[in-house]
């Protein structure tokens, strides 16, 4: 698009991949993200528009995967919608066009750093980091929680697969916390 070269949240040209014992942390710079909030009294309109545009609007605390759009619930009448960055860098504009005036849409891509965590079972790691009862919550559970003083969104894709969205400016602190906890557990 433009001549400007992007930096990842960790300040590199490309995304980081870190392995500690059985854990693999993959920075996801390839996700576009936007918030979608229903305008007051317009949820029905929004739901209809979203359905025809293929934008899932999951229930509270839920994540719903799709292509190109996946989404997780963040607040009453509000979702974060994600899509591949390569095709959907202009995700806010695309969603606005699709959802019309039934929703308020705001680009969120670069407000966050995304890390995918992978291990056979992430419970031992996550119980050192946050108060989510990871073993009990179902796949597709999405919640905001706190890790090492940082507010993050946690999406449980599977017992061994989690996507974290943390504040972009603290990407280094968050990654460091993950690494240290992993070294402590494994």
């Amino acid at each position: 698009m433009a001549s400007l070269q992007a930096l990842t949240a960790l300040g590199a040209r490309g995304p980081a991949v870190v392995e500690i014992g059985p854990l693999r942390i993959t920075e996801r710079a390839d996700l576009a993200l936007a918030s979608v909030a229903a305008r007051r009294g317009r949820f029905t309109d929004l739901a209809a528009a979203a359905q025809s545009a293929g934008v899932p609007l999951p229930e509270a605390a839920g994540y719903q995967a799709g292509a190109p759009y996946s989404a997780f619930w963040t607040a009453p009448d509000m979702w974060f919608v994600e899509a591949p960055f390569a095709s959907h860098e202009l995700i806010a504009g695309l969603l606005k066009a699709a959802l019309g005036d039934a929703a308020s849409v705001t680009e969120q891509t670069d407000a966050w750093v995304a890390f995918d965590l992978a291990a056979a079972d992430l419970t031992p790691l996550l119980e050192r980091l946050c108060n989510v009862d990871f073993r009990s919550v179902p796949k597709g559970y999405a919640t905001r929680t706190v890790m090492e003083h940082l507010g993050v969104y946690l999406v449980k894709l599977d017992q061994g697969a989690v996507r974290l969205y943390g504040p972009r400016s603290s990407a280094q602190s968050l990654l460091h916390a993950l690494e240290v906890a992993a070294a402590s557990v494994w």
Partner: protein, 94 residues
């Protein structure tokens, strides 16, 4: 403490920010009420030893403001509502 969020279920109170008495919802209309009414609204508190309706904000969560009914002596929580619903029930709108 654990607050049973009406939408999200039990959540650690650490995720919330406390404001105070839920009577802060009852803000007078600035175009009709005067200093005395605002003074009573903003400064005077019942501060009961016992059941207390109070405002908590789910800052590290879904950003809902909640009205929590909690006993200030035992800390037992008996009711949790969305503040928005409480405000509407009190006739607040725009």
């Amino acid at each position: 403490m654990i607050i049973h969020h009406p939408i999200l279920g039990p959540r650690d109170a650490q995720e919330f920010v406390y404001l105070g008495d839920a009577s802060l919802i009852d803000r007078p209309d600035g175009m009709t009420a005067g200093i005395e009414a605002f003074h009573d609204y903003l400064y005077q508190r019942s501060n009961p030893a016992g059941e207390h309706r109070e405002l908590w904000y789910h800052e590290q969560g879904d950003r809902s403001w909640l009205v929590v009914t909690r006993n200030t002596v035992t800390h037992e929580i008996t009711k949790v509502e969305l503040a928005r619903d409480v405000a509407r029930a009190k006739g607040r709108s725009k």
